[in-house]
Amino acid sequence: MGFIIRMPEESRDDTIFAHPIEEEFAKLLDYYHIEWQYEPRTFVLARGESGNIIEAFSPDFYLPGQDLYIELTTMRPKLITRKNRKLRRLRELYPHINIKLFNRQDLRNMMIKYGLDDQAAAILGTQAQDDDK
């Protein structure tokens, strides 16, 4: 299917995050000196008859040291079906790719663990993220 590679930003300050939880996650990685890239690669999931891309998926983070992609979602479980389907499709088409999904509960528990009550509360109040990236 193929993929599109985007040049990573130099640092967190240069990165425009789509969601506040992504920025918090980047801060956490920076704190522990873990190298990361934000949405460095878009995986093509489906093409139309003329070869145009009709479905794609850009995982939020890539950790080069771990060769691991991370997708974060604050969507409610009942709204996560489409994202799960995309992840399944990505794993089918790109079986060598390591990707982990951190769901709403994972992220909320992580924020609580680090004492970040405001961020945990924000996840509670979050509506579905844009699922079309």
Binding site: K27, L28, L29, D30, Y31, Y32, H33, I34, L63, G65, Q66, L68, I70, K100, F102, Q105, D106, R108, N109, M110, I112, K113, Y114, G115, L116, D117, A120, A121, L124, G125
Partner: protein, 194 residues
């Protein structure tokens, strides 16, 4: 007869627990097995056991007498990520080891491996000091949320990726003294879902 008080003796702490996942007796038995394995593997090596404060304290206290060979022990402490940590400066070593570890066989003892972020930082730090060997022993493992791959040599129990407390695991510094591990009731740590 168990050496621990029954769960109900812990009053309001136990009231915050939805379900006991691992009993004190199960932990005790598993720690003995881990101690036996370590005694076998490190025979003649005089290993240095290194723990990171504070969560490891109950595990380390139980593990030490379960090991039947000569060992030494030391502790480290690091700053944790959080609202009061001054996060932009990165993680800081708040207490270093008292002994050099170059050429020593080091066994890093941890209460739980979760994302692996803290442990990976500490292992990188220790590796830079050129120990003869460096292995990891953790009582609990939450592999579901692992971000950093940690080669762990001794694992006690696998835990679900949920809020669990007891036996060193805390919520806001509480529950560490429970001799068992339990699921925290959601109402203790979060408001009701809207």
């Amino acid at each position: 007869m168990s050496a621990y008080y029954p769960p109900e003796a812990y009053g309001e702490l136990t009231e915050g627990i939805r379900e006991i996942l691992i009993t004190a007796e199960e932990i005790e038995a598993r720690v003995l097995e881990m101690g036996q394995a370590i005694s076998r593997d490190y025979e003649g090596c005089n290993p240095l056991l290194v723990g990171v404060l504070k969560g490891v304290v109950p595990f380390m206290a139980a593990l030490l007498p379960a090991i039947t060979i000569p060992i030494e022990v030391d502790f480290m402490a690091i700053s944790g990520y959080g609202p009061e940590a001054g996060n932009d400066g990165g993680v800081r070593l708040e207490k270093d080891l008292n002994v050099p570890i170059a050429g020593r066989h080091v066994l890093f003892v941890e209460d739980v491996i979760d994302t692996g972020l803290t442990l990976s930082y500490l292992l990188r730090n220790l590796r830079s000091r050129k120990p003869a060997s460096l292995k990891v022993c953790a009582l609990f493992n939450k592999s579901r949320r692992r971000l950093i791959d940690i080669p762990s040599n001794y694992i006690g129990f696998e835990l679900p990726a949920l809020f669990v407390v007891g036996y060193g695991l805390d919520y806001r510094e509480r529950y560490r003294n429970l001799p068992f591990v339990g699921l925290l009731k959601p109402e203790v740590f979060q408001p009701a879902e809207e």
